[in-house]
């Protein structure tokens, strides 16, 4: 891995939402800490995988990066520009450089727009092509993602889930973005279609030299596509490492448990790993200390009081767990 300029770097990103009101009006409202102090960066041409259980804040990270949800605090540097500080007007021209592929190929396409319009919408918004070139460009995009350009006048309901996701990919690629977020782009698809879409993403990434943030809870897909992987738990990143390293030597108990939950965990060289128990705590009322302490098999008294910081275990491999500071506790 050569050191490439960072396309995206996220520093101390926090996105909090107002939660349900407390009992009495003057007591105010609770806060849902959907994303709490997340930092990472992606170099040019690389793919970062973001994994975690449902509800851990993965999608909110994606929406916060694209400013579809305004973060509460922190920085999102896209090629050195802090997106959080930009007004919507100043942000609009930058949007063509960063795009998102949504999870649900049914809800993310306008049922009353032809797919030709949907794919070309970004080009129209940014006035990138004239009327005549638009059709050519839409046809090229459709061919690129494996759709017949003859279908430009059809509506989303006439397509299968996999075909719709191809429309979603074509729409995201229309403006020639540098950076693409895949927000669980395969989780709503059949297994056979998942493989097609993953391979399509991999081919397109190589062809168009894309930088990607690939969000998924499918560890196999993440391993296949990513150069680096970050593991999220309850709004925080608990471990971040190059893909091979993370899958071979997971440092955090949560990552270990997550890997163990995949059938046939051969890659953890035979060592017995405790399985994950219980439920994810509510982000409305996270536990004190380490957020994973309520479910961690190695929990210590210290875990209930302090929050472990993300520390470097080895070069490029970071994890947030007290066990890692203590050599006497091999995991």
């Amino acid at each position: 891995m050569t050191t490439q300029p960072e396309v995206l770097s996220v520093h101390n990103l926090r996105t909090h939402f107002p939660g349900p009101a407390l009992g009495l009006p003057w007591q105010g409202r609770t806060t849902v800490r959907a994303v709490d102090d997340v930092s990472f960066s992606i170099s040019h041409g690389h793919t970062m995988g973001l994994v975690g259980e449902s509800g851990c804040g993965k999608s909110t990270v994606a929406r916060s990066i694209l400013q579809l949800v305004r973060p509460t605090s922190g920085q999102v540097l896209f090629e050195g520009i802090d997106l959080c500080k930009l007004k919507p007007k100043a942000l609009a021209p930058l949007r063509k450089q960063m795009q998102i592929i949504f999870q649900d190929p049914y809800a993310s396409l306008d049922p009353r727009a032809t797919i030709g319009f949907t794919i070309g919408e970004g080009l129209l918004i940014h006035k990138l092509v004239n009327e005549r070139d638009l059709r050519q460009r839409v046809a090229d995009l459709m061919l690129m993602v494996g759709l017949n350009p003859a279908f430009e006048n059809r509506y989303p309901h006439e397509f299968s889930g996999g075909q719709r996701q191809r429309v979603g990919i074509a729409r995201a690629l229309a403006t020639n973005p540098k950076f693409i977020i895949g927000d669980e782009p395969i989780s709503a698809l059949d297994v056979s279609i998942q493989a097609q879409i993953i391979n399509l993403l991999r081919d397109l990434r190589a062809r168009l030299n894309l930088t990607m943030l690939f969000i998924s809870h499918d560890l196999r897909a993440v391993r296949y596509l990513s150069d680096e992987v970050a593991v999220m738990y309850l709004g925080k990143i608990v471990e971040c490492a190059p893909t091979d390293l993370l899958f071979k030597q997971p440092a955090h108990p949560y990552t270990q448990a997550l890997l163990n939950s995949v059938p046939k965990p051969r890659w953890v060289d035979g060592r017995q790993i405790a399985e994950i128990k219980g439920e994810v705590p509510s982000p409305l009322n996270p536990p004190s200390g380490c957020y994973f302490s309520t479910r961690c098999p190695h929990v210590m008294p210290r875990c209930k009081q302090e929050q472990p910081a993300l520390v470097e275990v080895q070069a490029g491999h970071k994890a947030a767990c007290f066990l890692l500071n203590d050599v006497s506790h091999p995991i």
Binding site: T114, H126, E152, Y155, D190
Partner: protein
């Protein structure tokens, strides 16, 4: 669906297309034009509308002229729909009744649609206390049986509208503010418009609320679309379908309500011509001269039915899912 098919066109469409790119609106127009019931409904509606507009030119007699030699004559060559107990030509009266019905219904459905659109959209978009107040008002109005509420409103507001129009007459001197028939139009329009707008308001509010959360709106914003683009390209095409359909149906409903109020004697006042009033006046002659009731009743049914056909066809046309290809 198997993996191989997914990559391939599902039917034998040519790989290169010759047709022009279509839009939602051109597809909707195409679909409507191929819906024969809808086109028939539209034809009937347009014919009756033209008859109402040119009622003065078409009517063979003055709708108020009394012919004492021809009382209660059944339909014949001189009087296509016969004459009533004052010797007035029923055909001419039905035509003038059509004018009243179309005019009043158009005013009512335009006003109630406009109010409903704004109230519903603002309620959904602003939220908070605006939403609560608007929903509260709409629920309160919807909790009454509409015809009773409309009757109540028409009776209660009559003196207010009366003093308003006489005030306007005093200041402008325009004869239309002195006209008792126009005055009864205003009362009916206000009363029915008052009970009709919450239906549209509720529809628009729920549509906008559900659309706002849709991922394709977020996708458009991620592409860089501003509020105007999202509204014109996504919100309006998705909301307008049901609004147009509801408008069409509310037009027919408004006609029915106007006739009902006139039938009850609190709608259009004589000498104004109204189908409801004509039916009411002929009620005692149901057996001897049924045509006095059948003629206006049939015309009313025909308009409402044609609007139902048009509404149904629009509903299909504005929903790409129901297009047949």
């Amino acid at each position: 669906m198997s993996a191989e098919i997914d990559n391939q066109p599902t039917d034998s469409a040519p790989l290169w297309r010759t047709s022009k790119p279509r839009t939602f609106w051109s597809d909707a127009a195409h679909s409507f034009s191929r819906n024969y019931t809808g086109m028939l409904g539209l034809l009937i509606f347009v014919l009756l509308l033209l008859a109402a507009i040119f009622a003065n030119q078409i009517a063979p007699y003055d709708y108020l002229a009394q012919d004492w030699n021809n009382l209660l004559k059944p339909p014949n060559a001189n009087h296509l729909m016969g004459t009533d107990e004052l010797g007035r030509d029923v055909f001419s009266r039905v035509l003038m009744g059509a004018r009243t019905a179309f005019l009043v219904a158009l005013c009512i459905s335009t006003i109630s649609t406009t109010i409903g659109l704004f109230a519903g959209a603002l309620s959904a978009l602003l939220g908070g206390w605006v939403d609560r107040v608007v929903v509260w008002i709409m629920d309160a109005l919807l909790s009454f049986p509409s015809i009773w509420l409309a009757a109540f409103v028409s009776v209660v507001t009559r003196p207010t509208i009366d003093s308003l129009t006489s005030g306007l007459y005093a200041s402008t001197g325009w004869a239309m503010f002195q006209d008792r028939v126009i005055f009864s139009y205003l009362v009916v329009i206000f009363a029915i418009g008052f009970v009709a707008w919450p239906y549209m308001g509720r529809l628009v509010r729920s549509q906008v609320l559900s659309l706002r959360e849709k991922e394709f709106i977020e996708a458009a914003r991620a592409l860089g679309a501003g509020t105007r683009w999202v509204t014109i390209r996504h919100l309006i095409p998705n909301v307008l379908g049901s609004v147009i359909v509801t408008f069409t149906l509310s037009f027919g409903n408004a006609m029915l309500y106007e006739s009902s109020l006139s039938f009850l004697g609190i709608g259009i006042q004589p000498p104004g011509a109204s189908w409801g009033r004509m039916i009411f006046e002929a009620l005692g002659r149901l057996r001897a001269q049924p045509y006095l009731i059948i003629m206006p009743g049939l015309t009313l049914s025909l308009v409402v039915l044609s609007l139902q056909f048009v509404g149904d066809a629009l509903n299909d046309a504005l929903n790409p899912r129901s297009h047949s290809r």
